[in-house]
C-alpha cells in the first residue's frame, strides 16, 4: 500500500481532503441554488420562500376553514407548521435524488468533485433551507402570538438533524436504486404518498390508542417529528420519542445506503 500516507502525514492528508471537500460542497450548493432560481425576483431566497409558501398556504387554509385535524388544544398553526416542514424536507430530498447521479454526471469530470459531494450538497441545501423557512415562519407567527416560542432548542435541532439524517440515508438508497433499475422512480411517488401516515406529520402519537402508538413508534420519522415538536411545544403537550432507536435506525439505514451508492456510482449511465 505505498502511496498511502502514514502517521502525521496521513492525518494531514485527511484534513486536506476534508477542507477541499467542504469547499467543493459549498460550491456545489451555491451552484445548485443558482441553477435552480437564477437571479430573478428574490434570487436564491426562493429556496427558502418555496417551502414557506406551501407551509403558510396550508396554515392559512386550515385555520380559515377551521379544520383543526384534532389539534384544538395544541393550536392548528404550529401543528401545521411543524408537520409540513418535516414532511416537505422528507419528500423534497427523496424526490430530488431520483437519477441524481446520471443527471449530474457532467460535474464529476472535475477532479475534486465526486458523486458523494453532489449528493451531500443537494441534501444539505434542502435541510438548511427548509429549516430556515421554518424559523422565519415561526418567528413571524410567534410575534403575532399564533405559535408558542421555542421551548427546547436542543430537542428542536436534534429532531431536525435526525430527520435530515434519515432522509439523506433513504435518499441515498433511492439514488442508488434509480441508477440500477429503470422503474424505481415510478414507484417512489405512490410509495411516498401511501406511506404518508408513517411520517407522523398529521397527528400526535399521543392521540392514538395504545396499540397504534406502539406500532407507530417503530417509524423513525415519527420519532423525529415528535422530538422536533417536543422542542417547540411546552412540555404539557405529550410527545413520545426514543432517541437511541432513532440514532440506531438512521445509522443502520446509512450502513445499508453507503455500499449501494458505492456500487451504483460505478454503473452510472450518462444521459449524454
Amino acid at each position: 500500500m505505498s502511496g498511502h500516507k502514514w502517521g502525521a502525514a496521513g492525518a494531514a492528508n485527511f484534513f486536506k481532503g476534508a477542507r477541499i471537500q467542504l469547499r467543493v460542497i459549498s460550491t456545489l450548493m451555491i451552484r445548485e441554488v443558482l441553477s435552480r432560481y437564477g437571479h430573478e425576483n428574490i434570487g436564491f431566497f426562493w429556496i427558502i420562500g418555496e417551502p414557506m409558501l406551501l407551509t403558510c398556504g396550508v396554515m392559512v387554509l386550515w385555520s380559515l376553514t377551521n379544520q383543526t385535524h384534532g389539534a384544538e388544544e395544541v393550536g392548528v398553526i404550529p401543528f401545521a407548521l411543524t408537520g409540513y416542514s418535516h414532511i416537505t424536507m422528507w419528500r423534497h430530498i427523496a424526490f430530488r435524488f431520483i437519477r441524481v447521479m446520471s443527471h449530474s454526471s457532467a460535474l464529476v469530470y472535475h477532479q475534486y468533485v465526486k458523486f458523494f459531494d453532489i449528493l451531500i450538497s443537494k441534501a444539505l441545501l434542502e435541510v438548511v433551507a427548509i429549516f430556515a423557512a421554518f424559523l422565519i415562519a415561526l418567528t413571524l407567527l410567534w410575534l403575532l402570538d399564533l405559535a408558542p416560542g421555542i421551548h427546547d432548542p436542543l430537542l428542536l435541532v436534534g429532531g431536525w438533524v435526525f430527520t435530515a439524517w434519515f432522509s439523506l440515508a433513504f435518499a441515498l438508497c433511492v439514488a442508488a436504486l434509480s441508477e440500477l433499475s429503470e422503474s424505481t422512480h415510478q414507484f417512489l411517488g405512490p410509495a411516498m404518498y401511501l406511506t404518508m401516515p408513517l411520517t407522523g406529520a398529521f397527528f400526535f402519537v399521543d392521540w392514538l390508542p395504545p396499540r397504534a402508538q406502539a406500532v407507530m413508534l417503530w417509524s423513525p420519522l415519527v420519532n423525529g417529528v415528535e422530538m422536533f415538536r417536543a422542542g417547540l411545544f411546552p412540555p404539557d403537550i405529550a410527545t413520545n420519542f426514543d432517541v437511541p432507536y432513532l440514532v440506531g435506525s438512521c445509522f443502520a439505514l446509512t450502513v445499508i445506503a453507503l455500499p449501494c451508492v458505492n456500487y451504483a456510482q460505478r454503473h452510472v449511465q450518462s444521459p449524454f
Binding site: 500500500m1 505505498s2 502511496g3 498511502h4 500516507k5 502514514w6 502517521g7 502525521a8 502525514a9 496521513g10 492528508n13 485527511f14 486536506k16 481532503g17 476534508a18 477541499i20 471537500q21 467543493v24 464529476v108 469530470y109 477532479q111 475534486y112 465526486k114 458523486f115 458523494f116 390508542p209 395504545p210 396499540r211 440506531g248 445509522f251 443502520a252 446509512t254 450502513v255 453507503l258 455500499p259 458505492n262 456510482q265 460505478r266
Partner: protein, 412 residues
Amino acid sequence: MTEQEAKPEQQPLLQQIELRPVRSQGDLLTLDKSGGYPDNSSILREQPGLFRGRGLFLATFVMPVFLSAIYLFLIASDIYVSEARFIIRTPAASPGADGVFSSVAVSQGMMRATEETAAVNEYILSRDALDVLLSKANIREMFHRPEADFINRFPNFYTKDNKEMLFKYYRKMVHAWIDYDSSISVVSVMAFRPEDAMAIAQRLLAAAEGLVNRLNQRANEDALAYANAIVDQAKGKLLDAEKKLTDYRNKAGMIDPSSETTAAMSSITQLSTELSRFEANLREREALAPLSPALDSLREKIRAQRDEVDRQRARLVGGNISIASTLAGFEQLSLDREMASRALASAEANRERARQDAERQHLYLQTVVEPHLPDQATYPRRFLYFTLCVFAAAGLFYAAKSIKEIIEDHAL
C-alpha cells in the same frame, strides 16, 4: 522487480519500476501525482505486522467487540425477573331504592375499575412504593448484592448515592404497565437473586393492596360523612319545628286548638240543647200557668244559659285570642313539624342505603398471577447482545472507512 543496466559505468537510465496496484475509487481513475514514488517523508512507513494500516479497523471494530465480549461473558451478572399480574375490580353499581334506574339494565357482577387500575399502576412506580420497599424489604441491600457487577449495581462508581438516584435505578429495575386489551396490570421486577425478585414483587403487591384499602376507607368515610350530615340537619330542623310549636302553644294558652274546638263545639251543642229544653219548658209553663213564680227563675236560668252559650261562642270565633285565629298558625306549625319528621325519616333511610352502597363499592385487588421464583436468569441476553454488537461494530467500521475514503479521495 528492478532492472539495472549491466554496465556499471553507465548511469541507470531506467527509473526503478515498481508495480503498484492502483486502488479503484469507482469513478475516473486517478493516478498518484508523484508518479509512482512512495512518500519519503512519512515517519512510520511499511510497518511490518498485523496492525499495519488497520488502525481504523482496530478502533471501530475490534475494540468494541472485544470490550463487549469481555463485559458480556466475563463481567456481567445474571439478572432474574419475577412477574406478577393483578386486576382491580369493583361491584357494578346497583339502582336506587326508588327504582329510578330500574329501566337501565343492571348487571350484578363485578366490573373492572379502570381509573383505580391506573392509580395503582402509578403508585407502584412512585417514590411512595420505594419508601415502603426501603423500610420493609431492605431493597438497598438487594441492589448492592456482591453478585452484581460494577456497572449494574446501585451505588455505582458513576452515580451518586442519594434518594433521587435510587429512584431512577428503581424505575430501571421495576416495570409496571397495563395490558392494552385486558386491563390487567403487570408488575415485573428485576434483581440479582431470584428470591430477591420474588420478595420485591410480593412486597409491591402488598403495598398495592394497602393503597386499595386506603382508597376504600376514604370512599367509605366520605359517603358516610355526607349522609350523616344530612341526617343531623334533618334532626335539627325537626327540633326547631317542635320548639316553635311549643312556644306557640304556650303563647296561645292551649295545647291543641282543633281538639279544643271540638270540645268547645260539643259544649256549645250541649248548652244549646239544654237552652232549647229550658225554653221549651218555659213555654210549656207559660202556657199552663202564666203567673207561676217559678217562671222568673226559669227565665233567669235561660238567660244565664244564653250568656254561657254566647260566651262559649265568643271563645271559639271572633276576637284576638279566639280559637279560630290560633288554628291557622297552629295548622301551619303542625304541618312544618310533620314535614320535618318525614324528612328525618327519609334522611335516615338514605344514610342506611349509603352505608350499604359504600360497603358494596369496595375495590378488590385480585392477584391473577402470583410472583414466581425464577430459576434462570433472563438478562443479560449475552449471545444476542454480542451478535448485535458485532453487527453494529461492523457497520460502524464500514461507515467510518467509507467516509474516510471519500474524504481522502479529495486530497489526491
